[in-house]
Amino acid sequence: MSDPLMPELPSAGGGTIAPRQPTDWTTDAMRQRIRKRYARERRFRRLGLVAVVMSAAFLAFLLVTMASQGLGGFFRTEVALPIDFPQTGIEVDKAALDQPGADLALAGAGLENIVGSAAIAAFGDYGPNVISDNAWLTVREAIKHDPSILDGRAVIHVPASAEIDRAISETGTPEAEAAVTKLQAENAITEGFNWRFLSASDSTDPTQVGIWGALKGSFFTMLVTFLIAFPVGVLAAIYLEEYAPKNRWTDLVEVSINNLAAVPSIIFGLLGLAVFLGTWTLFGHKVGPLLPRSAALVGGLTLALMIMPVIVIASRNAIKAVPPSIRDAALGIGASKVQVVFHHVLPLALPGILTGTIIGMARALGETAPLLLVGMRAFIATPPDSLTDKATVLPVQIFLWSDEVSRGFVEKTSAAIIVLLVFLLAMNAVAIYLRNKFETRW
């Protein structure tokens, strides 16, 4: 204690310090206090559990609501419509039915009226309201498929009208209810998978709508997004991670990327609108719009700018995770820097890059707001055939249908949401799979 290193403690001697009084834990007040503290602990814990369960319950509620409303959209009510063709006096050249003009020929032969009359014959005066306005199209396809039915009486399952649909699922007009009761008694109502929903495009009639056009539009848009965002994002990440000197320029790049990742998506819509669709005055000439409005090309470019920071950030992290020893090894045998990056670092970082890209693409696939601004909200009844055709995408289609007043669209909107969610979940599952499969601890 005479250690010169040891300074005298101010409190040494202890004279000023009151003697210790052990806490009496056994008094009633203390026991009660501890009981209260434990009660608080339990309450707090339960609160946390409630928060987690409620969040999960909200998700479950959302999914169940969409599923219960949307599953009906994949099916359609069909009515068995008997048509006695010889009696209708239809006159068509059967041989011509496998030729391009067949549609026109059948329409010219008054098929629509024939189907209408057949409905009256079969279901009485209310008949034309039982079948969908487009029921004759189904009949047309049936005739083209098998011209021999024109020789006799055939029963064709045609889509029911929206009124009948509603009378079955909920309550419809009294007439529709009566018709349904009658049809059910005759076993004339069936439920069939609505292939049309997957193969058709937008329409004003909810029984006729499909998502094919929107899916194709989404595909084209995603194609453009991927072709732009992936190479640019990965190359930018390579530069920033492997080459960039540490200076104010690269700091600026870094800050831009981090901030772009958090810029609201609608701002990208404004950017797309102003840059790609706006007009510019260059050297006194009016230039622009650079790109066609409402096209997948514009939407894809806009989304590419939006998800590029996501891909850059993910790729940088993946590249950063490749250990320096691998670079040193390749450099040590005389590889050039470019060779090191493209032969060694990039392949090793690829799973991480792909995971980030898929997550970014999933975000782009679900994005709506910026696309509304670049005009992809038009009514598109024919699927786009090229990147510059007018197109819409699945989320925008959902938005457009959700605005429709007709009750029949509710089901279709939810059905389209199910399709969108299935795509997104699949993409996320692939991303998680990739991450787990290729996750390497260096």
């Binding site: 290193l5 101010p10 409190s11 806490t23």
Partner: protein, 275 residues
């Protein structure tokens, strides 16, 4: 060299032996304690008595289980999901692993000081007041002030910080932080204080102050200190337990252990043959 170390250690231990009192009452007792971390058998059947009013040092090579065992004494191992404790540990004859035992109360009675100073990111005052506040030990503001002052005084920190009690506890030097942590621990009036290598992150001057503080505190608490430094064990403790590979190899009065170890392993260790 070995002899020299041996002699110095033994001498230090003897110098401090005057305080040893073999007839002290037992504060905590462990009987056949086993600790498992998942598959690992970390502590293998340790039985030991911790005496009141004494400093007990746990020494041994790193990974020997001394810190693990220390953490079983106030059930801090509960916070590690994979840890499992078997055997019996009593505090004043009460089994601390019994189902009726309140761990909150236990930890208030058996305080702990950690290897790295871990003051809360609060003011110095709030750091010390934290324990009394959660346990409801102060009836009024002036009560609390008194507790804070008394604890800081006991920790030998009062004069250094009395003018800046509202400063952040994290803004002090390492040695001061550790003494703040000791003040924080004694503010709830524990009966036992566990110290897990309290000086390993400190410089020699700060270490000296902590050791001095341990001396000061000895009379009122049962203190258990885990240390790597045998000089320290010899300087501050009256009882020494030597752990090796999860076993308690030897336990006894410090001066005996350092002058006259019964086990070869102990001897090898304190003479620096391994460790």
């Amino acid at each position: 060299m070995n002899d020299l170390t041996d002699t110095t250690l033994a001498q230090t231990a003897r110098e401090h032996a005057d305080m040893a009192d073999s007839a002290a009452p037992v504060k905590m007792a462990a009987r056949d304690v086993h600790v498992y971390y998942g598959e690992t058998h970390a502590i293998k059947g340790v039985s030991i008595d911790i005496d009141m009013d004494h400093v007990t040092a746990f020494i041994g090579p790193s990974g020997c289980g001394k810190s693990t065992f220390l953490r079983t004494l106030n059930r801090m191992n509960d916070t590690i999901a994979a840890a499992r404790v078997e055997g019996q540990i009593t505090l004043d004859g009460e089994d601390i692993y019994a189902s009726g035992m309140d761990v909150v109360q236990l930890r208030a009675r058996v305080g702990m000081v950690f290897q790295k100073p871990n003051p809360f990111p609060k003011s110095i005052y709030e750091n010390v007041a934290y324990g009394p506040r959660i346990h409801g030990l102060a009836a009024s503001k002036s009560d609390m002030d008194a507790i804070v002052e008394r604890s800081l005084r006991r920790a030998g920190l009062w004069d250094e910080v009395k003018d800046r009690l509202t400063d952040s506890g994290t803004a002090m030097s390492g040695g001061q932080q550790q003494r703040l942590c000791i003040a924080r621990a004694i503010a709830v009036d524990p009966e036992v204080i566990l110290m897990d290598e309290p000086c390993s992150a400190l410089d020699p001057i700060a270490t000296a102050k902590i050791e001095e503080l341990i001396h000061e505190l000895r009379g009122n608490y049962a203190i258990v200190i885990v240390t790597h430094n045998m000089q320290q064990a010899a300087r501050v403790s009256q009882r020494t337990a030597f752990f090796h590979l999860g076993n308690l190899v030897e336990y006894g009065v410090t001066s005996d252990i350092f002058t006259n170890p019964r086990e070869d392993k102990t001897k090898d260790y304190i003479t620096g043959r391994y460790g």
